[in-house]
Amino acid sequence: MNDILIMIIISLGTLFILLAAIGLLRMPDLYLRMSVTTKAATLGVGLILLGLALYYMETSITTRVIAIIVFLLLTAPISAHVIGRAAYFVGVPMWKKTKIDDLKGMYNTKTHDLMSGFEEEEKPEAED
């Protein structure tokens, strides 16, 4: 019974990972690819690790599994964030069907400062 549960959980995890892989391959631009992968893969790994914890049913292993999962949850979005941000700087193109780009023109290409669009209301500070 337990084994079946584990098998199901792991299979689910594997499917999510496969999904992420396919998504990475299929999606038309970088941002979309990241969108797909960050979560699907994290979820997939999380599930597989969960299966592992269930399989061993030991405190030391469970704690480690939790540690890994927490860590992945902390870091995966950051990876996506930093690389996405950098990609935008470098000018990695977006899919042609992209509807809006609020970020356009907000970055100072020299200093990498990012405006919010609300600055004028407070103190207009000139950059040199």
Binding site: A67, L74, T75, P77, I78, H81, V82, R85, H112, D113
Partner: protein, 137 residues
């Protein structure tokens, strides 16, 4: 890198990672791990911190030049290697073991001190290298 998110997370991660590195160091004798990999993890924690917060900030956290960890670590390693010569007259690097088990750490021996030396050297080395490179752009 100017990223609020990264900054926040790296600050949180720093103590966690250091803790983890000590853990890896201590259990090396029984399971995968040890001074080397432990030192690397600790170094990576600081490097991450430096990426997010800038070098000056990380230096403040460290409070000393990482280079000083090198002679300190080396001294610990050398002393633990020399200990048998001084204490029991056995050859260099002979393992000395404290009779009883110590909680958490298990058996305490010169090997552990040695590994601690390795740990410190690795941190010192990695940080010296990375910091030096980042500084001299």
């Amino acid at each position: 890198m100017k990223s609020l998110i990264l900054k926040t997370v790296s600050t949180t991660l720093l103590p966690l990672l250091i803790l983890f590195s000590v853990f890896v160091l201590l259990r090396g004798h029984y399971l995968p791990g040890g001074g080397f990999i432990g030192g690397l993890i600790a170094a990576i924690a600081f490097i991450l911190h430096a990426f997010a917060n800038g070098l000056t900030q990380t230096r403040k956290v460290l409070r000393m030049h990482p280079g000083f960890l090198i002679p300190i670590g080396l001294s610990i390693a050398i002393l633990s290697a020399l200990a048998p010569i001084i204490l029991t007259g056995d050859p260099l690097m002979t393992g000395l073991w404290y009779e009883k088990d110590i909680a958490i750490l298990g058996k305490i021996g010169s090997a552990l001190f040695f590994d601690t030396g390795v740990y410190l050297v690795v941190i010192g080395v990695c940080l010296t290298i990375i910091f030096t490179i980042s500084e001299s752009v």
